[in-house]
């Protein structure tokens, strides 16, 4: 086994340090080392998006990023979306619009949706479908997810 490396990073706005082996993915580090189990493993090869996190402003599959790669980076996970007890509009709209059923893909969708809407709050249906096509959901047929993202965009635009 390779020796563990020391990594300093920022997760959900807080400085964090952790030890990880060079082969451990960011997803493993988040879930197993840091106890942030909100990011889900659906495939572990970048095809389902359930582990999506925002890395330096960009949505990435955390199963495809090595833990050691986040040295000095800013990482945002589903646990960091709400502001204390105040849900983010994208979380509110997923709940009000019943955009989740089993909920396993939901963290990835929320993170990817937030990243999209922060850049483009009035994203049209096609833009949403194009940008979130890397996130698989098997329960909802996506209809209510698309609508929730549209509603969240409108709510974010209102509050700005």
């Amino acid at each position: 086994m390779a020796n563990k490396r020391h990594v300093s990073t920022t997760i959900n706005g807080e400085p964090k340090e952790f030890l990880c082996a060079p082969h451990e993915s960011l997803l493993e580090v988040l879930r197993d080392n840091l106890g942030l189990t909100g990011s889900k493993e659906g495939c572990n090869n970048g095809n389902c998006g359930a582990c999506t996190v925002i890395l330096n402003g960009r949505p990435v599959d955390s199963c495809l990023v090595l833990g050691v790669e986040v040295e000095g980076a800013e990482v945002e996970t589903v646990e960091g979306i709400a502001d204390r007890n105040e849900l983010h509009p994208v979380q509110e709209c997923f709940l009000e619009g019943a955009a989740l059923q089993c909920g396993i893909c939901t963290p990835g969708f929320l993170v990817a949706s937030k990243a999209l809407l922060e850049k483009n709050p009035d994203a049209c249906e096609h833009t949403i479908r194009y940008n979130l096509a890397g996130n698989l959901c098997r329960c909802t047929g996506y209809d209510k997810i698309v609508r929730a993202v549209q509603d969240a965009g409108a709510r974010m635009a209102e509050s700005n």
């Binding site: 709400a82 949403i128 979130l132 096509a133 047929g141």
Partner: protein, 757 residues
């Protein structure tokens, strides 16, 4: 006196409250099995067969066992001998040697991915490395994956001791055909003799997977008190408990199963795979053990739905009255007997009132993972066949595809080929709703565009459910029930209790209990939870009110219980005085003992869910790709408790059906090993592949539920392949006889037909 509020006017039912587990699920706090972390917990890895069929000659685990960090290694030799015994698992009987053999292969491996050995170690990487040091010597055997090939006399035999059970009689020679079932009504020869038109076609469908995003996961902790605690991703904690106890040959009461939040199941998370393994690894290591499957494991080793061959014949008069139907169905069961052929037989003609019918069904072992239920298991395949034949008859006699369905639709009194006579059902109402819909009234123009419709049915079961209601000081209530919540059922159950009691959904705290804390409850499956566990919640609410009437009479109003009236809005009145549920509950708490109510139900009748779908498609002749332009799903929900959740079931099931129709299939290498065990290559629909899915909820009350609720979960997967096939025909003139209707298949067929033309 209780005034029934089944008058169709509700305060809570039909509203759309936010689900009780919602905040947990949008903040990452909800605990799924893979999230469970116990002190000292080990991680497990399973070594799986690299070949499709073979005899295990030897397994050498010595190198794995001595790997630093490894705490336990098991093979089937470490598991108890369960014998050749059939166990009743509530939803059907299973031979324990098959159940146990699927958990860890015994003398043979029957499919690529079949579990052979398991390792528990300090972390997943050590466990995986150690598992790879296990040496398994196989005698590779010829394999078979196509159901018709497996039925041949000279086919490679999966089980040398399996004899066909044909209506109770056993075949002389061993066979891959596990079961032959036969159903008939009327006189089939006479029936076809009355027909002016008869159509017959052969169809085949590929194996598809349920595709839940959460891989199977289980945690086991064999406690020092001798009890085995299991946390697992299951659709049914009680069946998981029973299967685990049977495989490990320990008393059921020594196993407690905690159903964690579950990331989708669709029928595929009922059989146990990991639970007995983590149990045994924990027993041997003295530590809790967690195993999560990889995505490849999920595709290669867990239940696909059957691949099928179907030959179906349908006859009608020149006026379009369906008179006779004949079906010969062969479904693969995967590696072990017990597939989905029964419901296939039930559903092949279930949407129509056909006087004469014969159905023969075959359940056949092949070298694939053991087939499991997948949302209306067995029904989608036969709908693909029958619904196309109905369209074909309509076309030939110049009748509208909707009219022929309205003319022949199953209704109250229709007798299905497998025997049952329908109570009031809602197919006619769904067809009428289609006729009134904007979608149906709209025109579809443009070359290579077509519209198709199809009907679908799933019977929906009752089975057993329990509920306990406890009352808090402030008159809010806690609802403890045992149905794992896969799509918001906590809330649809809480809403039914709130409706009875005259409180709000938010006044109810629903909780899914473990097998020690809640009464026996069957699986979340069969479209049964909102119906049957809903009935339990309703009945517990009535129990509570009955208790409160007696107590109010004695402790509050000093009168006879007959003089207390329960109003339809849940208020209790005596003479001119009236108290809400909350007021009375708070008062009774001060007066005396706490209030607790309970219910146990086992409704016998199915809920009979019918749906009708309409799809508009455009076919690209250059690639064979089908684009779904517009889609509307119509279904009878009886009563939609939470309309958003009903819509969600309709949309989700529809999209699974669209995936099954247009893309999804297992590919096999020449040696019958799966070639596409990843989400990249097993192509489920993404957001970009789809339009919005419009829904129309029809409410034709189910007479067996106080609010008229029917199950809705499964029916919506049934019609899409047929509706899309009919749409493709109307777009291109090409009749599709196989699933999936993927671009290469459709392109080739278009090429062939244009050459022939």
């Amino acid at each position: 006196m209780i005034k029934n509020n089944g008058n169709g006017e509700y305060r809570v039912l039909g509203t759309r409250p936010v689900r009780h587990d919602g905040a947990d699920k949008v903040t990452g706090k909800a605990v799924y099995t893979a999230d469970v972390q116990l002190p000292g917990m080990l991680r497990g890895f399973i070594l799986r067969s690299p070949i499709a069929h073979g005899r295990i000659k030897s397994i050498d685990t010595s190198a794995a066992k001595t790997t630093p960090g490894v705490h336990a290694v098991i093979t089937s030799a470490d598991m108890p001998d369960v014998g050749d015994k059939v166990a009743d698992l509530g939803e059907g009987a299973v031979n324990l040697k098959y159940l146990s053999g699927n958990v860890l292969a015994q003398d043979k491996v029957l499919y690529k991915g079949h579990a052979v050995a398991a390792v528990a170690a300090v972390d997943i990487h050590v466990a995986e490395e150690a598992a790879k040091k296990i040496v398994v010597e196989y005698e590779e055997l010829p394999s078979v994956t196509w159901v018709l090939d497996a039925m041949q006399d000279d086919a490679p035999l999966l089980h040398e001791d399996l004899h066909t059970d044909s209506m109770g009689a056993k075949s002389e020679n061993p066979s891959n055909i596990c079961t032959h079932m036969h159903f008939e009504k009327g006189d089939i020869e006479d029936g076809f003799a009355q027909c002016d038109i008869v159509v017959e076609r052969e169809f085949k469908t590929a194996s598809v997977h349920q595709g839940y995003i959460e891989p199977h996961a289980s945690v086991g902790d064999w406690n020092e008190d001798g009890r085995l605690r299991i946390w697992t991703a299951t659709q049914g904690s009680f069946t998981a408990r029973q299967q685990t106890a049977e495989v490990l040959q320990i008393p059921i009461s020594d196993v407690v199963v905690t159903p964690c939040e579950i990331g989708g199941g669709f029928g595929g998370k009922i059989a146990v795979y990991l639970e007995p393994i983590v149990g045994m690894l924990s027993k041997l290591s003295g530590r809790p053990v967690k195993i999560s499957m990889t995505r490849a494991d999920v595709f290669e080793a867990t239940g696909p739905t059957p691949g099928s061959y179907m030959k179906v014949k349908l006859g009608a008069t020149s006026e379009g009255k369906l008179v006779a139907g004949e079906a010969w169905l062969a479904y693969d069961a995967g590696g072990y007997p017990g597939g989905m052929i029964g419901p296939g037989c039930m559903c092949v003609f279930s949407c129509y009132d056909i006087e004469h019918a014969v159905v023969d069904g075959y359940d056949v072992c092949v070298n694939k993972p053991n087939t499991q239920a997948y949302r209306a298991p067995g029904a989608t395949q036969v709908a693909f066949a029958t619904e196309q034949l109905v369209d074909e008859i309509a076309k030939q006699i110049g009748m509208c595809p909707l009219s022929i369905r309205q003319l022949n639709a199953a209704k109250e009194g229709t007798v299905r080929v497998d025997g049952p006579k329908y109570p009031p059902v809602g197919l006619v109402e769904c067809l009428d709703a289609l006729e009134d819909s904007d979608h149906w009234k709209s025109t579809l123009e443009g070359p290579l565009r077509g519209r198709g419709i199809a009907a679908g049915f799933w019977f929906g079961c009752g089975l057993k459910s329990c509920a306990t209601v406890t009352v808090n000081h402030d008159g809010t209530v806690n609802l403890l029930e045992g149905s794992t919540d896969i799509g918001g059922s906590r809330t649809s159950l809480a809403m039914q209790l709130a409706e009875v009691l005259g409180i709000t959904s938010d006044d109810v705290n629903p909780m899914v209990g473990d097998t020690d804390s809640v009464g026996y409850t069957d699986v979340t499956g069969g479209s049964r939870v909102t119906f049957a566990t809903g009935l339990a919640a309703y009945t517990a609410g009535r129990d509570l009110q009955t208790q409160m009437i007696s107590r109010a009479a004695e402790e509050v109003w000093d009168c006879s219980p007959d003089e207390v009236t329960l109003e339809s809005d849940g208020r209790f009145t005596h003479n001119d005085e009236s108290k809400t549920f909350k007021e009375l509950a708070a008062q009774l708490f001060k007066h005396g003992e706490p209030l607790v109510a309970r219910a146990a139900v086992s409704p016998e009748n199915p809920t009979n869910g019918f749906g009708v779908h309409v799809a508009d498609v455009e076919v690209d002749p250059e690639t064979g790709k089908v684009t779904v332009l517009r889609y509307t799903t119509i279904q009878d929900a009886g009563k939609a408790v939470h309309p958003s959740y009903v819509e969600g079931q309709l949309q989700g099931g529809t999209v699974q059906g669209i995936g099954w129709a247009l893309n999804e299939e297992y590919f096999y290498h020449d040696n019958d090993t799966v070639a596409n065990a990843s989400f990249l290559d097993y192509r489920m629909p993404t957001m970009l592949d789809l339009p919005m899915i419009d829904t129309i909820i029809v409410e034709a009350a189910n007479p067996d539920h106080p609010y008229g609720v029917r199950g809705v979960g499964e029916t919506p997967i049934v019609p899409p392949p047929a509706a899309l096939a009919n749409a493709i025909y109307n777009a291109t003139g090409t009749r599709m006889e196989q699933l999936p209707m993927s671009p290469p298949v459709l392109w080739k067929q278009l090429q062939t037909e244009s050459t022939e033309a």
